[in-house]
């Protein structure tokens, strides 16, 4: 048959395939689908249809790429409607048949999307799906749409037209066309394909080889597998075109043995090619002969390297050879050979079909066309995508990929497999192409893209890559063979807590040696993960080495339980939870006080990062660590803190009676120092007293805790004494030997809008402070916010201000410039605010505040749209022109952030304050400033942060001050007194059932809107004990 006749028949068959006299069911049965249970679903469909005596055309197809939703089933009914259903299990098959096929109810509630012209209301088309809308499917043009084992389907959609054309225009013109398209090798190196073919063609020989490299070995990459399983002809046609172009009559597909389905599909496709005259002698009457053989790999990553691949074909050890000679000159069996990647060839067939200028209309100048990516890791929509080169990295991860799983924080994306690098948050806005990826220290590679979040440890990931390359190193050249071993050893030492800072330099040195001297690209790229993680995540390495800390809580040699390791103060969570379980609440309290002088506070307001790492969440939900902490303080008498005798002569001053200052004061008093705290306001507590509202933290709870845990130790707190106003900085410096400065961050940042200085416009913390100072006036109505209040901001201060305003009787609207998921405030706070009737408007920024008689009356806002990513990894909100609207307001509260007020620090003091209005630290210290007499901690050092963070810094400063004092005096180091021994029972359940976290009873929204009564009511004893029983005791060791 000639090609035209074949095409005609193909078109007929394709049309028949797409005419649904009887229903047509497509089951996505590539390896991804099968791994999700597609074959079981296939069987179930056949069974159920037979039992209902229903006829349907049921066909296995390839990969649509929506792997997160596998198994994917498309059902087409005689009315022409084609609907795709995702997550199909055997259980719902009968329902689908009944509803969709029999009753013709397309079930929009179960549908993912539609294909073709007919639509269903409320259901997007495939092209409209967020995962598909930015895609341009060239390599994947037929995947999931055709029956991969039916060559007619391939031909009807343009298949083999490229080969036909190529055979007519001649090899030189073919090479020119490929050159003009700008196609670059998709295996990873990106060498221009047309040029490569030209070189192979230029070397004369009777015997030449064309090889398709289907040894996709990069862990995390499965694009080639999907292409071969879903559309094998696209690759084979490209292979045939390439063989023709370079003058080879022998072609080989080298496929890894781990891909049995792909090999099966290729075998079937080759048979079909022979049957229809696209292979064999005198192809399509052109005089060109070609045979294709399949060679299976045998499990060696290095055989993806072309010279090793050829050695493997020759039945030898897969070890690379030095080049030159290049394969184009002397390759397989010493003959001119050209090796191309699967994806490259799948592009070739379509380029010859549709033309070079069509292809090069996509992509960037140097990186033309499209690229497939295998999206995997901590991303919502894992799967296979194909996008134009030049697309932004953030668009791939957040638009196409749907963002990070469980709303966690994006940390890095790894591209290029073990030869690539990790790209951090700040490059989310970068264009994805060969050059840009190289600039940031990674490579395009074959297309694996692994997304990592806050729970991924970059040191561990690097060690992981080295464990891979160390195993796969062929051993031929010394740099790689020895280098990978040493690099792996060093990284293992670091993850096991035996690292040294010198190792980092060693990693770089050995890495560069491998880069410059290894025989092949495996060895040369081994150091890429190391060099890129050292470049962007050096602090993590240093933390592992110096602090023995793994912030992602992965390197288990460095910690026992994730909760304790994550807590900035290192609270021994498993111990006190175990003691709740044993109903020994007093002992539990004693455990808490060892590390936290404010457990009643933290049990109410902590941001509980421990819960985010609690291992129980892998089973059901994390432990309610915060609520349990509060339970102890509500239900056990506070352990007595005994007065410690004054044994030190040095006098310590603390500036600021917030959590950092008071914690340091307590620790130093416990070490025998006389401590005096200077507090500007009328009562101690800092933000705890003057910002956090009483309905979250009752006044006497805080006051009692300060009295019992701080004042009782003999710490003197001088209230109403501001350093710089009531006592000079110099005076403090003279009267005291050492000073700990923890003034916090209490100055609201200005919005920078017109009308900010009108009456009725407040800063968030200033308003809260005023309210807390003058409560009577506010509650009596003497001072008022009026009836309509707008709060600007999305953090905890904004929510606090809004909920206070509500309780003062106002109608409150929060205006936030980004989306809900971007709000930094605690989720439970946002929920509580909404429950209470506070409205939140998203994607809004204030433009100006207008007033009458000097008082605010309305606020003009603009809507924003989120544009490119900024360095923090969030999309920049940009005001939309002419989108203004006004809200009538009586008051505006701007809670967009705070900075410390450093006006009390004179320049001559020698204490360095930086441009962000925080203190600078002396090199190598965690708390000492540039003037050794002065130490710092808390928000004044870090900028606004958490209570527990401030407490931890208070501990750090006290340790550092005491250590410094002792060093100066040549005294031995401080020895912690031995605490009373508290035996903690180890009770671990044999079987664990899924049980959700115990819910915290709360005042009903209606009951709490008009008062400041504490909203969270606390656990009852039985509930608390049951919750404590959920703890998995990650701290337990098997002895």
């Amino acid at each position: 048959m000639n090609f035209e006749a074949i095409k005609k028949k193909a078109q007929q068959e394709w049309e028949a395939f797409n005419t649904f006299d009887k229903p047509r069911i497509l089951v996505g049965a590539a390896t991804c689908g099968r791994a999700a249970g597609a074959l079981e679903v296939w069987e179930k469909f056949k069974q159920e249809l037979a039992s209902r005596s229903l006829e349907a055309n049921i066909v296995q197809v390839g990969d649509l790429g929506l792997c997160y939703a596998e198994p994917c089933i498309e059902i087409a009914t005689p009315d022409g409607l084609r609907v795709l259903y995702g997550g199909v299990t055997e259980k719902i098959v009968p329902e689908l048949i009944e509803e969709v096929i029999v009753k013709r109810n397309p079930r929009p509630d179960l549908a993912l999307c539609t294909f073709g012209q007919k639509r269903v209301e409320g259901v997007p088309t495939f092209e409209e799906l967020p995962m598909a809308s930015k895609q341009v499917r060239v390599v994947l043009r037929n995947s999931g749409i055709i029956d991969p084992s039916n060559i007619y389907h391939y031909i009807a959609r343009g298949g083999y037209s490229g080969l036909n054309k190529a055979l007519q225009i001649g090899p030189e013109k073919v090479i020119e066309e490929i050159r003009n398209s700008g196609l670059r090798g998709r295996g990873g190196a990106g060498f221009p394909t047309g040029v490569k073919w030209g070189l192979a063609r230029g070397n004369k020989s009777d015997v030449k080889y064309m090889i398709c490299n289907a040894d996709e070995g990069d862990p995390g990459a499965f694009m080639d597998r999907a292409a071969l399983e879903s559309d094998p002809h696209a690759v084979l046609e490209g292979l045939a075109i390439g063989a023709y172009a370079i003058g080879a009559n022998y072609a080989i597909v080298y496929a890894r043995a781990e891909y049995p389905l792909a090999i099966e599909r290729i075998e079937g496709a080759i048979r079909q090619m022979e049957e229809y005259g696209f292979l064999g002698k005198d192809i399509l009457g052109s005089g060109f002969d070609l045979s294709i053989k399949i060679k299976e790999g045998a499990g060696a990553f290095v055989c993806g390297e072309e010279t090793a691949l050829m050695a493997s074909i020759e039945g030898k050890r897969g070890m690379p050879k030095p080049r030159p000679p290049f394969p184009a000159q002397a390759g397989l069996h010493g003959q001119p050979t050209n090796i191309n990647n699967v994806e490259t060839l799948a592009n070739v067939s379509e380029i010859m079909n549709r033309g070079a200028s069509w292809f090069s209309s996509y992509g960037t100048e140097k990186s033309r066309g499209t690229k497939t990516f295998a999206l995997a890791g901590k991303i919502n929509r894992t799967g296979l995508i194909e996008v134009p080169m030049g697309i932004k990295l953030g668009d791939i991860i957040f638009d196409v990929g749907g963002g990070i799983l469980d709303d966690k924080q994006f940390k890095a994306v790894q591209t290029g497999g073990p030869s690539g690098g990790c790209i951090p948050v700040k490059y989310l806005d970068m264009s994805v192409d060969y050059e840009e990826l190289a600039k940031v220290g990674s490579i395009m590679g074959s297309g694996g893209m692994i997304v990592m979040d806050e729970d991924s440890c970059m040191v561990d990931i690097t060690r992981y890559f080295l464990s891979f390359t160390e195993k796969e190193s062929c051993g031929k050249c010394t740099p790689c063979r020895m280098g990978t071993q040493h690099l792996l050893h060093i990284l293992t030492e670091i993850t096991q807590g035996r690292g040294r800072l010198e190792y980092l330099t060693l990693l770089e040195k050995i890495g560069m040696t491998l880069k410059n001297t290894s025989l092949c690209a495996l060895g040369q790229t081994v150091p890429n993960p190391i060099l890129s993680t050292l470049r962007y995540f050096r602090e993590e390495y240093v933390e592992h080495i110096v602090d023995k800390k793994c912030r992602a809580v992965v390197c288990s040699a460095l910690f026992k339980s994730p909760c304790q390791h994550t807590c900035p103060a290192g609270m021994d969570v498993p111990k006190y939870i175990a003691l709740i379980r044993a109903e020994r609440f007093s002992d539990a309290y004693k455990i808490m006080l060892k590390t936290n002088p404010f457990p009643s506070v933290c049990g109410r307001v902590c941001d509980h990062k421990c819960q985010a790492k609690c291992r129980r969440r892998n089973l059901d939900e994390p432990l309610a660590i915060k609520f349990l902490k509060r339970f102890i303080t509500d239900n056990a008498p506070r352990p007595q803190t005994t007065l410690v005798p004054l044994t030190r002569k040095e006098k310590i001053a603390v500036i600021g009676a917030g959590p950092a200052g008071l914690t340091a004061a307590r620790d130093l008093a416990l070490r025998g120092y006389k401590v005096t705290v200077f507090e500007e306001l009328s009562e101690p507590g800092g933000m705890l007293r003057w910002a956090i509202p009483a309905y979250r933290l009752p006044r006497n709870t805080l006051a009692d805790e300060i009295n019992d845990n701080i004042k009782s130790l003999g710490v003197e707190i001088k209230c109403n004494t501001r350093v710089g106003r009531d006592i000079s900085f110099d005076q403090v410096s003279k009267n005291f030997d050492y000073i700990f400065m923890a003034p916090g961050a209490h100055k609201s940042q200005l919005m920078g809008v017109e009308g900010e200085n009108l009456k009725g416009v407040y800063g968030g913390v200033e308003f809260l402070r005023d309210f807390n100072t003058d409560e009577k006036a506010w509650l009596s109505g003497k001072k008022t916010l009026g009836s309509k209040v707008a709060v600007i901001g999305g953090g905890n201060s904004a929510i606090d201000a809004a909920r206070v305003a509500l309780r003062l009787g106002a109608d409150v609207t929060i205006l936030y410039r980004r989306e809900k998921k971007d709000m930094p405030a605690a989720e439970e706070e946002i929920l509580a605010a909404e429950d209470e009737g506070i409205k939140i408007k998203f994607l809004v920024v204030p433009l100006k505040i207008s007033g009458k008689d000097g008082k605010a009356t309305e606020i003009t806002c603009q809507r924003t749209k989120l544009t490119e990513f900024d360095k923090s990894g969030r999309r920049k909100p940009v005001a939309i022109l002419e989108s203004e609207f006004t809200l009538g307001v009586d008051s505006v509260i701007a809670a967009i952030g705070q900075v410390p007020d450093m006006t009390f620090v004179p320049l001559e003091s020698g204490v360095s304050v930086n441009k962000w209005s925080t203190f600078d630290l002396a090199a190598g210290s965690k708390s000492q400033t540039s003037n050794p007499k002065f130490f710092t901690g808390g928000d004044a050092l870090t900028g606004p942060d958490t209570v527990i963070g401030a407490i931890a810094q208070g501990h750090q400063a006290a340790r550092d001050m005491d250590a410094y004092i002792r060093k100066i005096n040549n005294e031995p180091a401080y020895v912690e007194p031995v605490d009373e021994f508290i035996d903690v029972p180890l009770v671990v359940d044999e079987e664990t059932e899924e049980v959700p976290q115990a819910r915290m009873p709360e005042l009903l929204a209606g009951d709490r809107r008009k008062n400041f009564k504490e909203v969270e009511l606390g656990y009852e004893k039985t509930i608390a004990v049951l919750e404590a029983c959920r703890c998995l005791r990650c701290d337990a060791e098997i002895v």
Partner: protein
């Protein structure tokens, strides 16, 4: 040389290029490579046994000891690693009582680690014989292995 081995070898020309396919076919027939079969193959291809072992031991696919009835392979590719693959390996290892690379005493199960199956979107992945299990978690391990016991 046994009859079975002769049959298997007969399907291949006596060409060095067929070395790996022959090893794959022989292992497919017997489950692993024995000293006897290796001797037969070396003879067939007219190469030294040491050269043959040199090639066979280079590739991880080839086994030289009797495998279990069921081959359990846990994927430890990057995507699987990031989604907890090592915990799956720990659980499987604990359940079977063997480490990766070993076979249970009753020859029921062999355990292997594999770098990547290419089902990364459904990580973590475990493959038992030819069946691929995606979206694994440690809880599912027990039930899946029970199917084969």
């Amino acid at each position: 040389m046994t009859r079975e081995l002769q049959d298997v070898l007969g399907g291949f020309a006596q060409d060095r290029d067929n070395l790996i396919p022959i090893l794959q076919a022989v292992q497919g027939e017997y489950g692993y490579l024995t000293p006897e079969t290796m001797e037969g193959i070396a003879d067939y291809l007219s190469i030294s046994e040491s050269s043959l072992y040199g090639v066979a031991t280079f590739y991880t696919q080839f086994k030289f000891s009797k495998p279990g009835d069921h081959n359990v392979r846990v994927c430890l590719g990057t995507a699987c690693h990031v989604r907890g693959g090592s915990r799956i390996m720990d659980e499987v290892s604990r359940h079977l009582g063997i480490q990766a690379g070993e076979t249970t005493e009753d020859y029921k199960f062999s355990l292997e680690r594999v770098a990547c199956f290419g089902s990364c979107a459904l990580s973590p992945v475990v493959v038992v014989d030819k069946k691929v299990y995606g979206r694994m978690n440690p809880k599912k391990v027990k039930n899946i292995l029970k199917e084969y016991e």
